[in-house]
């Protein structure tokens, strides 16, 4: 009975020590690799650098064509193309932001995605963003930009929800302004 107990104790020690020791020996030259596998670092590197099979990097949406403006409702539509560089299908569920005049910092209105857009891995999807100028914005265009065909605006409090991942950017991360047609410009 004593021998059986001893044998079972040895077995217990062996099944604990051998897997740990084996892994330790396999990664003795790279102990960090025991906790951070190479696949994980490759994915992150590919996303950041834009190389490899795991994605072409994070690319900002590209504006397509000219913004469309409806005078009667003071609304406009801007179309973007976005390439899904992730190796999985995504859905851009929402996109919202406030618009301000870049020159004066005056709040002009808001913008939001017309409808959720699903984009398959590697495909490019079209995002249509609708915006509305406020009455104060129209006055601002008349008073400060009456002679300008296009006015440079910036997006503030930009929030985008991609497949449950909510990314919030402030102005410093959005970068340069966007040229939009002046709704009161008469040529």
């Amino acid at each position: 009975m004593g021998k059986i107990r001893l044998l079972l104790t040895v077995i217990t020690i062996v099944i604990v020590v051998v897997p740990l020791l084996g892994t330790l020996l396999a990664y003795q030259g790279n102990l960090l690799g025991m906790f951070v596998p190479p696949e994980m670092t490759e994915i992150v590197d590919d996303l950041v650098s834009g190389n490899g099979d795991n994605g072409g990097g994070l690319e900002p949406p590209k504006m397509v064509g000219e913004p469309q403006y409806d005078e009667a409702s003071h609304t406009f539509a801007v179309t973007f193309e976005y390439k899904n560089s992730f190796p999985l299908n995504i859905t851009v569920k929402s996109l919202t932001g406030n618009i301000a005049c870049k020159e004066h910092g005056f709040p002009l209105g808001n913008a939001s995605l017309s409808e959720p857009v699903s984009i398959n891995a590697g495909d490019t999807g079209t995002l249509t963003v609708f915006g509305k100028w406020t009455d104060e914005a129209i006055n601002h265009f008349q008073n400060e930009h009456a002679n300008e065909e296009n006015v440079e605006v910036v997006l503030l409090d930009f929030v985008v929800d991609i497949s449950g991942l909510r990314l919030e950017l402030d102005q410093s991360q959005i970068g340069q302004g966007i040229q939009v047609p002046n709704p009161v410009y008469e040529g």
Binding site: G33, P87, L169
Partner: protein, 189 residues
């Protein structure tokens, strides 16, 4: 035949069979599952098989893989020991087999819960990531080198039915130990 059946420790037998069943089930169904967003990141965890998914790519962590091998072998040997013990509980080798087998499912179960708890506390305190053990939560994670940017994650987590199956297996093994005295008595001639 009837007398032989009466000598079997049925709690131990059921616990042993269920422990082996838990191993098989856990290879496919995780004990605990976490998903970030719409499966942008997933964690499927159990003491015998843990894997991660990140942006559609699956991978495992070698250290956790080693722990899973330990968990798998422990449960497998425990299940086999419990079955052999249960069929012959009055034999001289039965008690050592019982002592070897009955605690492992419980310890595996407890280590798994404690491990999950430690990981959630660690992430909360070090990275301020609010990782739920059950249910849903939102967590805002910092993005290095990008001030003014924040990333809010929707996290959903929960224990799966295989976790509760493991709890039943561990419970049966404990009951088998308590029941041992009733089946291990050698009748006097």
């Amino acid at each position: 035949m009837k007398g032989w059946l009466a000598k079997i420790n049925w709690f131990g037998f059921a616990g042993g069979v269920l422990t082996i069943l838990v191993i098989v089930v856990s290879l496919v169904y995780p004990w605990w599952q976490l998903s970030v967003g719409d499966d942008l990141m997933t964690i499927n965890a159990s003491p015998v098989n843990t894997n991660f998914g990140f942006l559609g790519t699956g991978f495992s962590i070698p250290f956790i893989w080693a722990l899973n091998v330990i968990g798998l072998l422990s449960l497998l040997l425990s299940g086999v020991a419990m079955i052999i013990y249960s069929i012959m509980p009055a034999k001289s080798f039965a008690k050592p087999l019982l002592d070897f087998g009955y605690k492992k499912p419980l310890f595996t179960f407890l280590f798994f819960i404690i491990g999950l708890f430690v990981v959630t506390v660690f992430l909360q305190n070090v990275f301020s990531i609010n990782l739920p053990l059950m249910g849903t939560a939102t967590s805002t994670v910092p993005i290095p080198f990008a001030s003014g940017t924040s990333l809010t994650l929707l996290l959903s987590a929960g224990f799966q039915w295989s976790f509760w199956l493991a709890a039943v297996a561990a419970g049966l093994c404990i009951v088998a130990r308590l029941y041992h005295k009733k089946v291990a008595v050698v009748p006097h001639a």
